[in-house]
């Protein structure tokens, strides 16, 4: 039985352009910090990658800090920008942001549709001193797009900094992030290899490094740059075309239509909000997400639920809980189509999902 991979928000399949770039970079023997010819050649490759990422996201090359991934990019921004500021965190942020923030951080609630409550944000901004606001562009579990441009305007008015975790949005939807002070990206979520990420900084923003080391990345991130991973990320960023969104959104919508037809009790948290084209959250009342994920895996369908801990256990979703789903927060799975999803993915998914649902409802009867 061929596997049906629908867990792209965990990691996208490697794009062929990225694979080629990785292989080319593997043959580059130098260290970008070396003075000699091989070092200069490696440096050239690194700066080409930087320019490509800058082009893809409308940044200036000198404002891009390469990291080992999205988590590090988020941590670098939050830790680097938080000192001396109140930290305001979106309720549905990823642990990469939540766990980089100080314990005193305050929460920006979300509306029932999953989007950040801008009125609450404005009230929070008006209530105290200079702030750092952290708001993700797109949520990893529901795909809900937050009103980042509006949040940026509020931040500007109140003298606050805005950090945007764009790990899930980058490459999938056009990023309108002109007002952000820092933006975190992850290579493998765009179809690059694992092991590289980037932090895009607004010109003039400076921050202290998490790792000082040899002063690479203009002193903002020490350590020899992982050239193959960075080159792969850059190639993926150029290859990822938000136009593909139309095709993916049609496939995603077909999944939702098929699931709703098979099971009137199914719900789709976040469906009322603007979303990533590839993502849907499917809630089957009364059935633990863990059971659904395992049952689908045994049927060859790869999905996920909540945020997977390194132990692999399925934890309850703080994202769905923040949207007011209560006990049902533990009954939703995330289905996320990869960039290369096949046209028959909806049909195959709905067949597997319906078979699972029918067996479970027979058991419950």
């Amino acid at each position: 039985m061929p596997v049906l991979g629908l867990d792209a928000n965990a990691t996208e399949p490697l794009r062929p352009e990225a694979r080629d770039a990785v292989l080319r970079a593997l043959d580059q023997p130098g260290n970008p910090s070396s003075v000699h010819a091989e070092g200069r050649a490696a440096r050239r490759l690194l700066e080409e990658a930087r320019a490509a990422v800058a082009t893809a996201f409308g940044a200036k090359p000198q404002d891009i800090v390469f990291t080992a991934g999205g988590t590090e990019a988020n941590a670098l921004a939050v830790r680097g920008l938080a000192p001396g500021r109140r930290v305001l965190l979106g309720a549905t942020e990823h642990p990469a942001v939540l766990r980089a923030a100080p314990a005193t951080a305050e929460t920006i609630p979300v509306l029932p549709d999953g989007t950040a409550d801008l009125a609450a944000l404005e009230a929070l901004l008006g209530a105290g001193g200079p702030a750092l606001v952290c708001l993700m562009a797109a949520n990893n579990e529901t795909g809900v797009l937050h009103p980042v441009a509006e949040a940026a305007a509020l931040c500007r008015r109140h003298g606050a900094l805005l950090h945007v975790d764009a790990v899930q949005a980058a490459g999938r939807v056009p990023l309108a992030l002109a007002g952000a002070d820092s933006i975190a990206l992850s290579g493998h979520k765009m179809g690059g290899p694992k092991g590289a990420g980037a932090l895009l900084l607004r010109p003039g923003i400076d921050l202290a490094p998490l790792i000082a080391g040899g002063g690479q990345e203009r002193g903002r991130r020490g350590g020899t740059e992982p050239l193959p991973a960075i080159a792969g990320m850059a190639a993926a960023a150029l290859a990822a075309r938000p136009e593909a969104a139309i095709r993916l959104a049609a496939l995603r919508d077909a999944i939702e239509v098929g699931v709703a037809a098979a099971a009137p009790e199914a719900r789709f948290p976040g469906r009322a909000a603007p979303r990533l084209p590839n993502t849907t959250s499917i809630l089957l009342p009364g059935v633990a997400a863990e059971t659904q994920v395992i049952a689908l895996d045994l049927a060859g369908v790869r999905v996920s639920a909540g945020a997977a801990c390194s132990s692999g256990k399925v934890a309850a979703s703080h994202v769905l809980a923040a949207m007011g789903l209560g006990a049902e927060a533990g009954a939703a799975i995330r289905v996320s189509l990869p960039w290369n999803a096949a046209e028959d993915a909806p049909e195959r998914f709905v067949a597997a999902w319906s078979a699972m649902r029918d067996r479970l409802s027979r058991r419950a009867a």
Binding site: E290, T291, L298, C309, R359, L360, R363
Partner: protein, 367 residues
């Protein structure tokens, strides 16, 4: 057939998974995450998953079977650790392994296995499941030194029908380790687990102190005749029959004293000479029958604690009260909270929990 195997990361359940996979079954491994290992070991920053979970995943990888980690921290805290502390606070002595088998293992994993379309749930317990004329029977393991049938006595007939214990016929542990070696499992030489899994280094009083502080508050040690002989540091430290930990109250002149009872309400530990601890009767609640409940008094053997040979008794089932009334042929020591398991030869025919004399049953047995 598709079989769910509860994999603890130890050698026993690893061998179960390996044997079933070798027989050609579609084996699905599951490991329960029962408590935050990092927190239990008081190690800051340690992963919530202990080494056992990593071992279970390694074994599953080696066997090429799917493996899942199931977060059962909440239900385990509520139903096993909570019951553990509550039982001590009542002046009784809990058997957490039975509670765990009864709840997160058999009740919940059987349900999950059925949800996943599995035909059976297999575990590494040392017990035998025998297909009898009236359905599945629970029997003692072939290896008497390893027999765990006492800890499985709360397994219901429906759960037993679905369960498999492939190690029940193993002659001894060495044979199990030999299978592990043959299958190339890295856990072949892993030491057996000890004591209570959620209590590091056997120090359970600090856990009880956190959950039920009254159970570790000081009180009097009182002789059965009413004399106050000394003080104790918490009723949770005492079990009926215990001789250690009584300090000055260990002796009454030349006579050695033992715990005869725990009076939780007055925070008293009652001591008495050995001879007067023994009783000829016991009352058993929360009874799980693995035969049709007997309408007449039944001759059988009963085990009053895990490490004790079964003793001859007559058991009368009081269906209205949901209690089994046990008359022992020869008097024994009854520690409330411990399980009383009923045997017919090697077969487990029922089991429940020993009640303190005069206590009211809290949980009526299901009809």
């Amino acid at each position: 057939m598709r079989i769910l195997v509860a994999m603890s990361g130890g050698v026993d359940s690893s061998v179960v998974a390996g044997l079933l996979a070798e027989q050609g079954h579609e084996v699905v491994g599951a490991t329960l995450q029962l408590y935050d290992h990092g927190a239990a070991a008081a190690k800051r920053g340690a992963c919530c998953a202990g080494q056992d979970i990593h071992d279970a995943r390694d074994v599953a990888d080696r066997l090429g079977i799917p493996h899942y980690v199931l977060d059962r921290e909440q239900v385990f805290r509520r139903e096993v650790i909570g019951d553990f502390a509550d039982t001590y606070a009542r002046g009784e002595t809990p058997v957490p392994c039975i509670r765990c088998n009864q709840t997160v293992k058999f009740r919940d994993l059987v349900a999950l296995a059925r949800d996943l379309g599995c035909a059976a749930l297999a575990t590494g317990h040392y017990a035998r499941r025998v297909e009898g004329p009236d359905g599945a029977e629970l029997h003692r393991a072939a290896d008497p030194a390893r027999d765990q049938s006492y800890f499985l006595a709360a397994t219901t007939r429906d759960q037993l029908a679905f369960a498999r214990f492939p190690l029940g016929d193993m002659p001894d542990k060495a044979a199990v380790r030999a299978v592990a070696l043959r299958l190339g499992l890295a856990v072949a030489e892993k030491p057996d687990s000890q004591d209570i899994c959620f209590v590091p280094e056997g120090r359970y009083d600090s856990l009880v102190a956190r959950l039920r502080p009254g159970a570790v508050a000081a009180g009097d040690v009182v002789h059965a005749d009413g004399r106050v002989l000394g003080a104790h540091g918490g009723i949770a430290r005492y079990t009926v029959g215990q001789g250690r930990g009584l300090g000055a109250a260990s002796w009454d002149g030349q006579e050695r004293l033992y715990v005869a009872g725990v009076d939780a309400a007055r925070r008293r530990v009652v001591v008495a000479p050995r001879g007067s601890l023994e009783t000829g009767t016991a009352t058993v609640g929360e009874v799980n029958w693995l035969i049709d409940p007997p309408s007449e008094p039944l001759r059988c053997a009963v085990k009053l604690r895990a490490r004790e040979a079964p003793r001859a008794a007559t058991v009368a089932w009081d269906a209205a009260a949901g209690l089994a009334r046990v008359a022992l042929d020869a008097p024994g020591i009854v520690a409330p909270g411990q399980a009383c398991v009923l045997y017919d030869g090697d077969r487990v025919i029922g089991g429940g929990f020993l009640r303190a004399p005069g206590s009211v049953d809290r949980v009526p047995a299901a009809a």
